[in-house]
């Protein structure tokens, strides 16, 4: 019964003298290996050379600030709901008078934590966020850790630093590459 067209008939015939000599086969094999000897090497010398990363690569998270340096996150919890790995947890707080330069909305995240051991870097938090507050940076990888206490990233390590706001001339240049990619997709109408 023929089950597949790729089936090969097995032959148990005696080896011919040429095959039993081994030498022709060995010379053929040597030819193959010497061809590889002169072939271009595939190795990338990592710290010196780096593979170009995709502009949509999902790396380390960042909690964005707006153009005036206020935190965009309003602690709605949609990212935590969207997260399939349940890596995100937050505690919301109400903005006090006089804190308008710190937080964009009346409600903000007093605590915002991502467990990097649970996170699967799927980017669903980024998609769920209605305030464009959380992004997975395409140019920064989540660093390795050697201690379990380093694993949970709080606001101290997640919120975008003020320097990047100050050096950014416009909102656009303050954005990460993934922001720019989203902008481009919207502009091109290819979504």
């Amino acid at each position: 019964m023929q089950l597949t067209s790729r089936a090969k008939r097995v032959s148990n015939k005696k080896l011919s003298l040429g095959e039993r000599l081994y030498l022709p086969a060995i010379v053929g094999g040597l030819g193959i290996t010497i061809k590889h000897f002169f072939r271009k090497k595939v190795t990338i010398n990592y710290p010196e050379e780096q593979r170009p990363m995709s502009s949509v690569y999902r790396g380390l998270h960042v909690l964005k600030r707006d153009e005036e340096g206020r935190e965009r996150c309003t602690a709605c919890g949609l990212c935590a709901v969207a997260c399939p790995a349940e890596a995100i947890s937050m505690v919301a707080a109400e903005r006090k008078p006089g804190e308008e330069h710190l937080y964009r909305e009346e409600k903000y995240a007093a605590v915002y934590e991502i467990n990097m051991l649970r996170c699967i870097f799927c980017g669903l938090c980024e998609e769920a966020c209605p305030k464009s507050a959380i992004y997975l940076q395409s140019d920064k990888l989540a660093p390795s850790f050697f201690d379990r206490s380093d694993v949970i990233y709080g606001k101290d390590r997640l919120v975008q630093s003020m320097e990047t706001i100050k050096t950014a001339k416009s909102l656009k240049s303050g954005l990460t590459t993934s922001d720019r990619y989203v902008d481009k997709v919207f502009k091109d109408g290819k979504y």
């Binding site: 060995i26 290996t33 590889h36 000897f37 090497k41």
Partner: protein, 354 residues
């Protein structure tokens, strides 16, 4: 025979010894580089430029490892094993002629000094004697470890070496019959022009010798004594630190020596094509003679390096033989073939002489 002659000899012997060790050291580096290149990788390139300091780093690592002797091992033999392997490996290169003769008349030495440790008239027997002693290092080490894997490796090494030594010696006999001498320098001197190289005159003998050299060096495809997948390292399973280093290093020295022997016996040693033409262009007197000898030495080392590369090239091409295949190849193919080779050679010699 004056003092200066002995001094010149001593310098040559020391140089040969040093170069042997140096080439063996850098063979480890070359092995890794060749392996990497054949597998489309780059190989060691972090220690020094192009990773050239890698052998030194490896040796340093070896020295600083714990030198462990198992509790139930036979302690004295456990130490004797690697020492013997290293000793026999280092002794072999002294009878190999690395070049022609040097004219050192400006130092007051009237005789021509051959670039060779000792020119014994039984050079080839000496090499075979030491190569067969080399297996004792492996056997003693494997037995003294008191470990089943090591013992299996040692048994395999012993049986493999004994089987292949037969075919190896028989393949050499044809050359000895042709040259009429056991001295390696005589055999090399006999191949003074390109068409007289023994590889053309003894192609079957050369292939037999090459295969047996692989087996004697315990190199792939005949690395059964130390196959990692079956015997977790074979005879050197229990060894660590510089004792292990000695075993591995002895293997590379053996590889160098067998490459030298192959080049000397079959590829004309320090002779090269167009030698007489070059000799005519050289200035007369001692300078020209020495320059020609120097060129011969370089050519010889070129041949040796090619064969070392060939050893590595084969290693990263062919899979390991099964034990029964190894024995079949040795006893049922190579030995009858080499005996037939001797007969055919004898008939031809008789025919040509009559």
């Amino acid at each position: 025979m004056d003092v200066y002659f002995f001094l010149a000899k001593a310098v040559i012997i020391l140089l040969i010894f040093g170069i042997t060790l140096l080439i063996a050291t850098y063979s480890t580096y070359a092995e890794r580089k060749v392996a990497a290149f054949i597998q489309d990788r780059l190989g060691p390139n972090r220690a020094g430029p192009w990773g050239l300091l890698q052998p030194i780093a490896d040796a340093g690592k070896m020295f600083f490892k714990e030198d462990f002797i198992p509790a139930n091992a036979s302690k004295w033999l456990f130490i004797a094993g690697p020492s013997l392997a290293m000793l026999t490996a280092c002794l072999t290169s002294c009878v190999i002629p690395f070049g022609g003769t040097l004219d050192l008349s400006f130092l007051g030495i009237s005789e021509l000094v051959p670039v060779q440790g000792i020119d014994v008239n039984i050079g080839i027997l000496y090499v075979f004697g030491l190569v067969s002693l080399g297996v004792y290092g492996v056997m003693i080490g494997g037995w003294a470890s008191n470990n089943k894997f090591s013992l299996l490796g040692a048994i395999r090494a012993a049986s493999q070496n004994i089987s292949y030594e037969l075919a190896m010696s028989l393949s050499i006999i044809a050359i000895i019959m042709m040259t009429g001498s056991l001295s390696i320098s005589q055999i090399v001197a006999d191949q003074d022009s390109f068409y007289k190289w023994n590889v053309w005159r003894q192609p079957v003998g050369f292939i037999i010798f090459l295969v047996c050299a692989f087996a004697e060096c315990n190199r792939t495809p005949f690395d059964l004594p130390e196959c990692e997948t079956e015997l977790i390292g074979g005879y050197h399973t229990e060894y660590s630190s510089m004792k292990l280093g000695f075993y591995l290093f002895a293997e590379y020295i053996n590889m160098f020596v067998s490459s030298a022997v192959i080049s000397a016996l079959y590829f004309g040693g320090y002779h090269f094509p167009g030698e007489s033409l070059v000799a005519g262009l050289m200035p007369a007197g001692a300078l020209g003679h020495n320059l020609l000898t120097l060129m011969g030495i370089l050519v010889f080392f070129g041949k040796i390096l090619f064969f070392i590369f060939f050893f590595m090239w084969v290693r990263w091409t062919i899979a390991r033989f099964r034990y029964d295949q190894l024995m079949n190849l040795g006893w049922k193919s190579l030995i009858p073939l080499s005996i037939a080779n001797i007969l055919v050679t004898g008939v031809i010699i008789l025919f040509l002489n009559s």
